[in-house]
């Protein structure tokens, strides 16, 4: 009986704490999403994101199709993702690594069609979901 009561209280406490934290998290998420959208808008040339493959020298035009709602956190770095599509219809993921300075967010690195680093960070437990 006592155990059940303690368990219930702990659960309620955790849930209420999670609710209070969610308010600020939602504001943070909207800011990050807005920043990402602004960045995409400003990076596009003719509605596309041109990308140069430094090994082959090939320039590929990527068109944004959707932003992902999931945001990852790695220490002070946020990671956001979107899906791009080439002219021939091939989909490619893009990962944005975002840092904050003086209340402003800025993209510090972008990986197009290169998920391996992010997967490695996730598997190592460095990058976790923002929640």
């Amino acid at each position: 009986m006592i155990r059940s009561a303690v368990f219930t209280l702990l659960t309620l406490g955790l849930l209420s704490g999670a609710g209070a934290e969610a308010q600020s998290l939602n504001e943070l998420r909207t800011q990050l999403q807005a920043m990402l959208q602004r960045s995409l808008d400003r990076s596009m040339l003719g509605g596309a994101l041109p990308h140069v493959d430094l090994k082959t020298g090939i320039v590929t035009r990527y068109y944004p199709t959707e932003n992902h709602e999931i945001i990852l956190k790695m220490d002070d770095i946020y990671v956001m993702c979107a899906t791009l599509v080439t002219e021939d219809g091939r989909e490619a993921p893009v990962d944005y690594y975002i840092a904050q300075s003086d209340g402003r967010f800025g993209i510090i690195r972008m990986e197009i069609d290169n998920r391996a680093p992010l997967h490695a960070l996730m598997e190592a437990g460095r990058a976790t979901r923002l929640e």
């Binding site: 939602n26 909207t30 807005a34 602004r38 932003n67």
Partner: protein, 719 residues
């Protein structure tokens, strides 16, 4: 069908018990799982909402920047197009209002919904977005989490519905599965167990019946063998012939012991043995056992004694017969195995509400590796060529009987140092009985305590006698011999064992000489035979000290086995009309011989019908009725005799069942048939003489005082 095979109750009961465990477990696990899922789902909802609002705000910001870029001077934020652009955000249900603010002054430049503005949205979340216009402005989107709350509510309802549905569905499904998976095998198992139980009970019944029949079949010829040997020993015999007759009787006794042990063991195993709860005198039982074993101990030249602590209640409640059986078995073993020294039976208080009866001997002891199994059935210590023999059932039966009495039995033994069996029993005193043994002190009130010298080389016995005399107010100086005495004061009484040297005494000093054999009384004293009976000893002490002997010899408990087997007095049944009935010719001859020269008028019948005829022609005072007879059995014959007595107004004859069927149910059947008492076969002449003598005494008492109630214990004595 018995309760255990009810096809519904076991499975339902089991299932309800399982459910009581399973449902909370299911709720805990399912609830935790669903809560986790809903939290993840909620997270996705929050993330989706954030993305939607963020993207929309950024796109609006981009549009406003492009609008600003088209202006030549400062941007006119009051233009309708600005409001129209901002209005597009209000399509999102989470967004409460959108405003454009001058970051330098905080002045609101535009707001939608127009007219209402951000009234009522003070607690809403805000998303500030810097618009790179000229001049720079800030777009603030205010939104709330009503849709998250709605999602939460939907999820909670869904969760509860899922849990309730899950429990209901799982309960029903589990019940059906349980009935099929567990219920059917369980019912089959129960049925098999029930059948096995019935078969085992039937087999046990058959075994009991077989044992009862075998007991009867063996006892009937044994009656002839032992009885005839008994009669033979009364005739003039040569020493060699006397040895043969004695051997026949002892062998018969041994065989009877074996039969009784087997019957008792069988009854205990079947749970059919019940114990009587009646008053008995523990001291008399212990002394009786010592008396019974005294002849054997005397032949082996070992001492046997009994001592009951004087502070114990005189009368207790319990089954005296079974306690006597246990003590005879254990003390009998002690005497059998002890070749020199002594066997002592002592009773003292144990723990709270307990008494401890110790049977201690100076025999060879029991090896340690055999002590653990000594109480097992058919197990015996030793077993070498010198082993006295037996079935090994005696101790097993004794242990079971002690357990049934609510007690326990313990063994301690060292090889070469002797053995001690300690029987611990609940102390149940008979509060209604007077305590006669403790009321009479040996010294008159106000007089000096008498001084008693006690000389006995056997320390344990000496301590017991000293404790008894001390308890009654005497000063006791004791020792193994005269040299041990620590006083020169002349004693008032000397108690002297025949193995101790006599001290120098004044001629007038009274003395009690304790002897193993008949002794000449010393001058001014008395000779008593060992083992002592406390009541006789104390009366003698009191008499010699000049005190008033008390009525220490109260009513006796049952018979004294072997203790009153004095030679039969001549004419021990003078004037008694006896009708003896038995279908066995040997037994008829035996009864005829038993009553020869008894002074009784004896008629002999060979069947129930003949007995009734003879009784009708000439009524008898005593009928010794065999029970199992072809044709009319003893019960039927008794019934007809009772009917005839009632019809003719005759005094009731004393009818005694004399039978080899000695189980409790046979005793009950005899009582129900109208019989007065019960004597088991083999019937010894000594037992018959004792019984008839007591019957005659009771008859005489009744005749002299017809209104006096019949003597208590007559029927009891017969059993």
């Amino acid at each position: 069908m018995s309760e255990t095979t009810d096809p519904r109750t076991p499975t339902l009961g089991l299932y309800l018990k399982l459910t009581a465990v399973m449902v909370p477990t299911f709720l805990a696990f399912a609830g935790a799982g669903l809560l986790w899922l809903s939290e993840k789902n909620l997270l996705r909802s929050e993330e989706a909402m954030s993305m939607r609002i963020g993207n929309a705000t950024a796109r609006l910001g981009g549009a406003l920047e492009r609008y600003s870029d088209q202006s030549t001077g400062a941007t006119d934020w009051t233009a309708p197009v600005v409001a129209d652009l901002m209005q597009t955000l209000l399509g999102d249900p989470a967004i409460r209002c959108v405003e454009l603010v001058d970051p330098a002054t905080g002045k609101q430049l535009a707001v939608v919904p127009q007219g209402l503005g951000c009234k009522g949205a003070d607690g809403a979340l805000t998303l500030p977005y810097e618009v790179y216009s000229w001049p720079i402005t800030e777009l603030v989107t205010r939104f709330d989490e009503r849709e998250i709350a709605t999602v939460k509510r939907y999820q909670r309802d869904f969760l509860l519905l899922l849990l309730a549905g899950g429990i209901l569905g799982a309960t029903l499904a589990n019940w059906l599965s349980f009935r099929v998976i567990v219920g059917r095998p369980l019912r089959r198992l129960l049925s098999r167990l029930e059948r096995a139980r019935a078969e085992a009970m039937a087999a046990n019944e058959a075994k009991s019946e077989f044992l009862a029949k075998m007991s009867h079949e063996i006892r009937t010829p044994m009656n002839g063998i032992i009885g005839m040997a008994d009669l033979l020993s009364e005739t003039p015999l040569s020493p060699e012939q006397e040895t043969y007759a004695t051997t026949i009787m002892r062998s018969g006794d041994a065989l009877l012991t074996i039969i009784n042990d087997i019957l008792d063991f069988s009854k205990i195993e079947a749970g059919k043995l019940t114990l009587a709860q009646e008053p008995y005198r523990l001291r008399e039982i212990v002394e009786d056992v010592a008396q019974l074993l005294a002849p054997l101990a005397s032949r082996k030249r070992i001492e046997i004694f009994a001592h009951v602590a004087p502070d114990l209640p005189e009368v207790m409640i319990g089954d005296a017969g079974r306690l006597r059986q246990v003590l005879i078995n254990i003390a009998g073993n002690a005497v059998k195995f002890t070749h020199e020294g002594h066997v002592g039976l002592t009773v003292a208080r144990g723990g709270k509400g307990e008494i401890v009866i110790s049977v201690r001997d100076t025999g060879p002891g029991i090896p340690e590796d055999q002590q653990a199994r000594i109480f097992n059935a058919f197990e015996q210590a030793g077993g070498g060529p010198a082993h006295p023999g037996g079935t090994g059932l005696g101790l097993a039966v004794s242990r079971q009987l002690v357990l049934l009495m609510g007690g326990r039995i313990a063994l301690s033994s060292r090889e070469g140092r002797g053995t001690c069996f300690a029987i611990t029993l609940p102390l149940v005193p008979d509060s209604a009985a007077p305590d006669a043994a403790r009321d009479a002190a040996l010294a008159a009130p106000g007089a000096a305590a008498p001084l008693v010298w006690l000389l006995d080389p056997l320390a344990e016995r000496r301590a017991g006698i000293a404790a008894l005399l001390g308890h009654l107010g005497a000063r006791v100086v004791s020792g193994a011999g005269p040299d041990d005495l620590t006083t020169d004061t002349a004693p008032d009484l000397v108690v002297l064992d025949d193995r101790a040297a006599a001290p120098p005494l004044a001629a007038r000093t009274p003395c009690i000489l304790l002897g193993s054999t008949a002794q000449n009384a010393p001058a001014g004293g008395v000779a008593l035979r060992k083992p002592l009976r406390q009541s006789l000893f104390l009366d003698t002490v009191a008499r010699l000290l000049g005190a008033t002997p008390s009525a220490r010899t109260g009513p006796r408990t049952g018979t004294t086995p072997g203790g009153d087997t004095a030679d039969a007095p001549a004419s021990w049944a003078a004037g008694l009309r006896v009708l003896a009935v038995d279908d066995n010719a040997t037994n008829r001859l035996l009864l005829e011989r038993y009553f020869a020269s008894s002074g009784a008028e004896v008629q002999i019948a060979a069947s129930g019908a003949e007995a009734v005829t003879l009784y009708t022609e000439r009524p008898a005072d005593l009928v010794l009725m065999d029970v199992s007879m072809p044709g009319m059995d003893g019960y039927q014959a008794t019934g007809l005799i009772r009917t005839h007595e009632a019809a003719q107004g005759l005094a009731s004859a004393h009818i005694v069942a004399v039978t080899a069927n000695i189980l409790d149910q046979h005793r009950e059947a005899a009582t129900l048939a109208g019989m007065d008492a019960f004597l088991g076969k083999p019937l010894r002449k000594a037992d018959l003489v004792l019984y008839v003598t007591r019957l005659c005494e009771a008859r005489e008492e009744r005749e002299t005082a017809t209104e006096r109630p019949p003597p208590v214990g007559l029927g009891h004595a017969a059993e």
